[in-house]
Amino acid sequence: MNKGQRKTHIIIWMVLAVCIPVGFISAIMVIPDKPMQEDVFLKNETVLEEISKEIVKDNLIVLIRNDKAKTSYQLQLLVSTPFKQADIGIYYSLRNKFDPLQSIYLGNLPPKGGKVFSLPSDEEFSDRIHIVLFDPIKNELINQIQIEL
């Protein structure tokens, strides 16, 4: 390299020494409070024995399961026709209008087959809940299912 090129390089790296950490810190600051938990949505759940609610909507069979003492609940989703989306985030919301930041992220649903998700504890449980299917890649609402318990 010649003198000019060496000077250009160090100037570029001095600029990057500021820009990269700024971008890095800014990105860390906007990480949502409830990031996707790999260990949650990939955990194999033991299916609870009782079914308290069953709904069929579009290509989904939705089951709310509970134990005998009704102290813990599960959401079981069975996909009858495979989804086109690769990534389907499943959210639990108490509100009609879905906001990912105001909802509880349960895990990811594979495009075909089905999955069981643990539902929140009693104090967060309500008579009317909304299960939202959301594509985080395309930032797109796929489906919203209201369940009366």
């Binding site: 090129q5 990057l16 990269i20 990105a27 860390i28 086109k84 690769a86 890649i137 930032n139």
Partner: protein, 349 residues
């Protein structure tokens, strides 16, 4: 170095270098996928491959970027530089697999073209949290493609060293785009801090090494030898030179390599005609000056590559007075033959 263009001029060093690249990349991919399958047995296999190639390209871009400054700080890293372009092309290929699979996986099932979908699925450019990070990866991949496509000596020769170097500075923009692609993408979705820590260590190392090496170079550029009344520069007493090696002198505009070959002294530009490598940090091998970066060679008396090669660098006139070497700082045109200074060096026959 060669007189004609071939896709790759294979030699034992390049073969060994590439073999190491292949072994390490394949080993990493297998190790990553095996570990991930154990930890996350339900992960979609395509997503697993996307992650494996994505993380590998992230590691490779860091390696590519730290080789340069490491070599400026210590010559023991020079073997890594010799075939760095193959490492760069590997980075592009690995990133391309990650990119193409991501496009197919996340945009391939829609009713629009995957590239249209890439740019229109998410248009929240005004939100940092929801920023369309995939677009950043796309532009980084585009830059890596241009880097890989123009990495051959054919382009270096035809575009000219200065333009080629400027073009390849785009790698720094690609690096920033990749960092932000990861930060606004997978980091927003993962809860594990490991990736954040690795990324932080990675860019801190890259930036620090470049700044340290760059600062060292700037300091050397500021060390200008004293001019004498006749315009010559005092380069040093003959006993300062090791046989077959050079001392580098700075005339304020450029660096000049003064080589000692036995009792003979000659001076040529420090900048190799190939990629601007520091000739003064090379050695005299088989009677010719050999660049430490890629082995380009120049004759000591006229700065020309031995036939049939055609590269040449500027030469400089020398004179010796009382075992002291003096340099005329004005360069001769590239390839000009100069008088070789013969000086009896103490301890030499």
């Amino acid at each position: 170095m060669s007189v004609q263009y071939k896709a790759i001029h294979w030699n034992p060093q390049k073969k060994a270098y590439d073999l190491v690249i292949v072994i390490l990349t394949v080993s990493y991919l297998i190790a990553f996928m095996a570990t991930t399958i154990i930890i996350h047995p339900n992960l979609d296999p395509v997503n697993l491959i996307i992650r494996a190639f994505g993380s590998l390209s992230l590691i490779l871009i860091h390696l590519v970027l730290i080789i340069g400054p490491l070599c400026r700080l210590s010559s023991s890293f020079l073997p890594l530089l010799y075939n760095r372009r193959h490492l760069g092309v590997t980075t592009f290929l690995v990133a391309a697999i990650h990119g193409v699979l991501s496009l197919v996986q996340f945009h391939g099932n829609g009713d629009s073209n995957v590239l249209i979908s890439l740019f229109t699925a998410n248009t929240q450019y005004d939100s940092l949290a929801q920023f369309p990070f995939q677009v950043l990866g796309y532009y980084a991949l585009l830059i890596l493609f241009f880097m890989a496509a123009t990495s051959h000596d054919f382009w270096l020769k035809n575009l000219g060293q200065n333009f080629w170097k400027r073009l390849h500075i785009l790698i720094y923009i690609a690096y920033v785009l990749i960092i932000m692609h990861v930060m606004l993408g997978v980091i927003q979705l993962e809860s594990s801090p490991l990736l954040i820590i690795f990324l932080c260590i990675g860019f801190t190392a890259v930036i620090s090494l470049h700044l340290i090496a760059g600062w060292k170079e700037i300091k050397q550029d500021r060390q200008i030898q004293n001019f004498l009344d006749d315009g010559y520069l005092f380069a040093g007493t003959v006993d300062l030179w090791e046989d077959g090696k050079a001392r580098i002198v700075n005339n304020g505009k450029e660096r000049i390599a003064i080589f000692r070959n036995g009792n003979e002294f000659t001076a040529i530009s420090n900048q190799c005609a190939h990629q601007g490598g520091p000739l003064g940090e090379g050695r005299i091998v088989d009677g010719v000056i050999t660049c430490p970066w890629h082995g380009y060679q120049y004759r000591t008396n006229d700065g020309c590559s031995p036939p049939p090669f055609s590269e040449k660098v500027p030469t400089f006139n020398l004179k010796s007075v009382n075992n002291k070497i003096f340099l005329d700082p004005i360069p001769n045109p590239a390839g000009t033959a100069v008088e070789v200074i013969s000086v009896k060096v103490k301890g030499e026959r």
